[in-house]
Amino acid sequence: MLHDESSTEFGAISPMMEMGAYEWLWQQEQQGERKVSFKVLAELFRDHPGHWPSELVSTTDAQACAEEVLARLRKRGVKSFSVRMQGAGDYPEGLKDAEHPLQFLYYRGDWDLAYAPRRVAVVGTRNPSPEGLRRTSKLVSLLVKEGVTIVSGLAKGIDTMAHQTAIERGGDTIAVIGTPIDQAYPKENTGLQERIARDFLLISQVPVLLYARRPPSVNRLFFPERNITMSALTQATVIVEAGETSGTLIQARAAFKQGRKLFILESNFQNPKLTWPRRFEEQGAIRVRDFDDILANLDASAAAAQG
């Protein structure tokens, strides 16, 4: 008896082919009339329910892109990585709360951390004040003591301090980066990124091939996108310090849209140059005068979710 390939393969999905198809879709830059984006791709898959990326791309194209990604990652010293796909196992439900849920992402490290019982994003400006850094360190130390996994974006400033403190205090941390899985930004965080990939969890939704051939000015657009993922991956976001135009505010808006808690440290309200703290407070953000306010609210929401 002869069997065609599909009937011998248990309906199995090849992560490599999905990766290649996903990368190919991004490579097109255009999807019909529109520039390809997470929004456009999420809509593409919404319009093709139950379809995998590989079903929308030719096998030859997907294979070629996949091989190119593998060659690139190998060359850049990424020995082991894996992927998460909507529709396959171990894709956290929370990620579907994002306005444009990710079809596909790359990770390195311990995926179990994405399911840690308490996950809080600690984020803020790339150019923090000394007090901002001190507050980050104090806040993260306290959260780690309570067994909270610290999620941040591995940017300069508050993010870096959040990851570093979590590690120093023996806690767990997840970095959701705005660069592909093989690249660090800023460069001086390369060591920290490797440490997180090895001992904790590093996540990237950024397509490897498109990023490699576009200029930094365009690639910058991936940074705010990962803020949305960071929020979706956590139960709450804490803004330590942020300016009026900070990318952190994108995460604040995403947190509201996704039904996540948003905490804003009191010091932001005391800064007369800032209008966003009050604006977000009116929308339901929680003002943090005492770090215990965060834990009390976090547990209240966890209890509500269970009951």
């Binding site: 008896m1 069997h3 009937s7 011998t8 393969e9 248990f10 309906g11 199995a12 999905i13 090849s14 992560p15 490599m16 082919m17 990766m19 996949a66 091989e67 593998l70 020995k79 082991s80 990585f81 894996s82 992927v83 529709g87 396959a88 196992g89 171990d90 490290g109 311990d110 995926w111 179990d112 951390l113 994405a114 399911y115 840690a116 019982p117 090895r198 001992d199």
Partner: protein
């Protein structure tokens, strides 16, 4: 939890499994990271419950093992049903556990999973390989002491009757791939025309590449 689709071991992940080559056809449902023994993700929770020692029988936590066996059987059944010819044309067999059947820690969880998955299908489901002696399970051993495929091959004997055209070997966690490679080799030596496939409940993702490096 919806039943997850089966995933392929392919060029993107084969490097995590030292003994697997392109010729080895292996599949998995979940990914498993053993880093700190956490079990929050579906994959980790499933594997940790599945591996609970049979010596815990009678204790309250043992029920999770039964649930994990049922979950695995349902996943496997759903996947096999997508290639329903296997119920007629394949021999479906567990990779032998580390302990022989007379050992107090003998655990037939994989046989239970395979039997449940094929329940009512009249498939050729059975132990195809017998193991000569017990050894410490891979996950209990220091990495350096793990058995190599050639050592495992020497422990395996084939049980009659001859397998059907395709052999599907089922195991819980794909680590280095040594057991699968050994089992395939024993089968193909005796029956060169048989196709051998591996289906694993989870593949182990090495979180620290140096860990694995030491193992080899």
């Amino acid at each position: 939890m919806p039943v997850p689709p089966l995933l392929k071991v392919d060029g993107s992940n084969r490097g995590d499994h030292h003994y697997l080559e392109e010729e080895h056809k292996c599949f998995f449902f979940h990914e498993y990271t053993a880093r700190k023994g956490y079990a929050h993700s579906d994959g980790n929770g499933l594997v940790i419950n599945l591996k609970k020692s049979v010596l815990l029988k009678g204790q309250p936590q043992y029920k999770y093992k039964g649930q994990a066996i049922a979950t695995c059987a349902a996943m496997l059944r759903a996947a096999l049903e997508k290639s329903a010819w296997v119920f007629n044309d394949a021999t479906i067999a567990p990779i032998p556990p580390s302990k022989v059947s007379t050992h107090p820690e003998y655990d037939d969880r994989m046989m239970q999973i395979v039997a449940k998955a094929c329940d009512g299908k009249h498939a050729d489901v059975r132990n195809l390989l017998q193991q000569g002696q017990s050894y410490d399970a891979s996950h209990m051993q220091a990495d350096g002491q793990r058995k190599k495929p050639q050592e495992l091959e020497a422990l395996y004997t084939l049980l009659a009757p001859a397998p059907k055209k395709t052999v599907i070997l089922v195991d819980d966690v794909l680590t280095t791939g040594a057991h699968f490679v050994a089992a395939q080799s024993v089968i193909r030596t005796a029956f060169p025309d048989r196709k051998v496939l591996g289906i694993f409940m989870a593949r182990r993702v090495p979180t620290n590449p140096f860990e694995d490096f030491d193992a080899l």
